[in-house]
Subunit: 413 residues, 2 copies
């Protein structure tokens, strides 16, 4: 059985982002690339490159089915208008994943890149990540007996039960599954999503996985990704605009607000540093937008920064939301909830530790935008260990964004 | 689905004992009775007496099928002769469980008794116990969600995996499943038996459950039960034989040896106290019999007593076996193995903690012989908390067996 069976087996934000990209920047030449950030793990020691190629080829052979298009056409925005336009759905009917480049890297990891027009290349992200994660999981299960595999599954269930038991004690913790890209395997994610939907009806908001949202009648959840400001900034990085980073960021916020309005107005703030982001957010944006997403740096520091930001702008932070989505586990979620309770709204996009908690070491894999129309992309984030780009470009963006390197930079393992 | 689907869903020793009973004492009028020894648990708070009646009625409707008779006819003794005679197998073809008496007891437990000729009444023992245990388990699962039930099963698997991991480090620990009577449910026992057979091929000797031995191609394991010496002693308890207890015990050993020889020569020693048993075992029996079964009292004290017994008789204990079958868990098994290693052979008949380890409180239930031809039975055991009989009868048997009450009697919970 192939790992990816449907083109909707991706995060919801791929569609919301791709609709805007398709509408505004469909001809931008982009390159996305796969990166293994896991220290000490040479992926090709686990994953056979031939198997990887087979799975990528199979994903490329997929087309959207009519039921998938029909489902997407039923999704509504907060104002009850359709989320996706007929034109975009027509585009999807003819959609196919573009070519990929795959070879063995000298560091023991696959070199896997996607060069294509932006709305096409973008769709590979979570698909490529799910595939590599599942091939890695396969290698972990290889050599295990039937019972030992059942034990792995049982461990997943008991750990899930522990989470549920704790979450039932914190009725104000509401969360979504954001674990498509990091899942142990599709069936594990399916089981977790189905169980959370049954056991924590009031607290489980939905899943980022469109295929599973469709299957289980859940709300497809999502915000947006770094690729939007990264690619737009790279496109504008030709020396003609001194403030090109903020021009790009504002373009993202404006086009997003125009398309989706209040319902999806969660701003991803850390692409070039959250301090810079808040400095550049207008009062109107601060008032209008529902909230922000935390994806790097200390979450409590972030919460404190957001609360102060709103207060300085004369906005009640209790009316604003932070979606936390960085390295969550149950203890971290509780710590964040205890900090935010009564101060600012909080919800959680739970990834790796939700869909890949079976007792094995997990991987830190990403697929990120690398190039746009010949210009390199840059991401800084609130944790420089997550920064992307050449050292020179990173320094240049840091200067442009007055990014302050912390004396004790928090490094991800 | 009924709980008991086959008349072979019983412990193997029922057949080996019943063959001797059928041959020698088929007309003895016996009464067996169910007892709940679990402190603080009123079974009728959990088990519906109507459901219990239904299950008992269904078991009573069962007959041995031809494949079961055929299977029993293939079982061989150590000397390669057939374990069961054609005459006994003919008896089984016409076999049906006899009537039962069931009512609500004033203590919140069911009064459940089986009055019939010995070879018939005897067959109820493990069937009645499996039924009551499974109805209790059903009540524990009632009200749990689908996922919570899966969590219970997952906990069984992870606990089983822990046991297997530890047992793989002790290659000299060999054991059998003796958990039919105490199982959480049939499917749980089936899973445990199947898994142990796959994961610990060299250490797992087989199962006492005949139906499962047949299904999985395992060796049906078993020794013998207290009912043999208890009932024979009760039959002889008419004042004509001053040494009636030992006459009965010798009758058990002689008839067993005559029927099954060395292969099944594991003597259950604690019916009237192990000290008394060893005093009365002849040198020839001590030499001939493969070993003994421990079923009450401190296991290491028992091992020490057995070793000294063999040494006093000039027999090398390293050639003799103790089958431990009382309240085993993995830590107790390892403690016993560490004590016996190099001194005396040891193996384990693992019950409750093997087939009923899912995180729930387990029950201590027994079905025991109460009467034989109008005389009450008595069991002393090496732990007076397990003694059966009226106080007067117990005192009388204790005097006859010179049973020494320990100053600090070990009481089972």
């Amino acid at each position: 059985m192939p790992i990816i069976k449907r083109l909707t087996d991706v995060d919801m934000y791929k569609f919301t982002m791709e609709q805007i990209i398709w509408k505004n920047w469909s001809g931008v030449k982009t390159k996305f690339g796969f990166r293994n950030r896991t220290k000490g793990v040479r992926l090709l020691d686990y994953v056979d490159i031939g198997r990887l190629r087979e799975e990528l080829d199979h994903a490329q052979s997929l087309r959207f089915t009519q039921p998938e298009i029909d489902y997407l056409s039923t999704i509504k925005k907060a104002d009850d208008r359709k989320m996706f336009s007929p034109g975009y759905l027509d585009f999807l009917k003819g959609f196919q994943l573009p070519e990929y480049n795959l070879e063995k890297g000298s560091d023991g990891n696959p070199v896997l890149e996607f060069e294509a027009d932006w709305p096409y290349a973008s769709h590979w992200e979570t698909i490529a990540l799910s595939i590599v994660n599942e091939l890695y999981s396969e290698s972990l299960l290889n050599g295990l007996s039937k019972f030992e595999r059942e034990r792995v599954w049982a461990e997943m269930i008991t750990k899930l039960a522990d989470k549920i038991k704790i979450l039932k004690q914190y009725a104000d913790i509401i969360f979504s599954d954001f674990g498509t890209r990091r899942r142990f395997m599709m069936e594990a994610q399916r089981y977790v999503v189905m169980t959370m939907a049954e056991e924590l009806k009031e607290q489980f908001l939905g899943t980022s996985n469109v295929m599973m949202a469709m299957e289980f009648g859940l709300v497809p959840m999502g915000t947006s990704a770094h690729e939007l400001p990264m690619i737009l900034a790279a496109m504008l990085d030709d020396g003609t605009d001194e403030d090109w980073v903020n021009t790009a960021q504002q373009l993202v916020l404006d086009s997003w607000w125009k398309e989706y309005g209040y319902g999806l107005s969660i701003a991803l703030s850390d692409t070039f540093g959250t301090s810079w982001f808040f400095r550049n957010m207008t009062d109107e944006q601060a008032r209008n937008w529902k909230g922000t997403r935390h994806d790097s740096g200390y979450p409590l520091v972030y919460a404190n920064k957001a609360i102060k930001f709103y207060e300085r702008r004369g906005i009640d932070p209790k009316e604003k939301l932070i979606v936390f989505s960085d390295g969550l586990d149950i203890q971290t979620i509780i710590a964040i909830a205890n900090y935010c309770r009564g101060r600012i709204k909080h919800s959680y996009g739970w990834g790796t530790n939700l869909t890949n908690d079976l007792g094995f070491r997990t991987l830190s894999l990403v697929v990120k935008a690398l190039m746009a129309n010949g210009h390199s992309t840059v991401k800084l984030s609130d944790n420089l260990a997550k920064a992307l780009g050449s050292p020179e470009d990173i320094e240049r963006y840091m200067r442009a964004c007055r990014y302050r390197r912390k004396t004790k930079q928090y490094l991800r393992s």
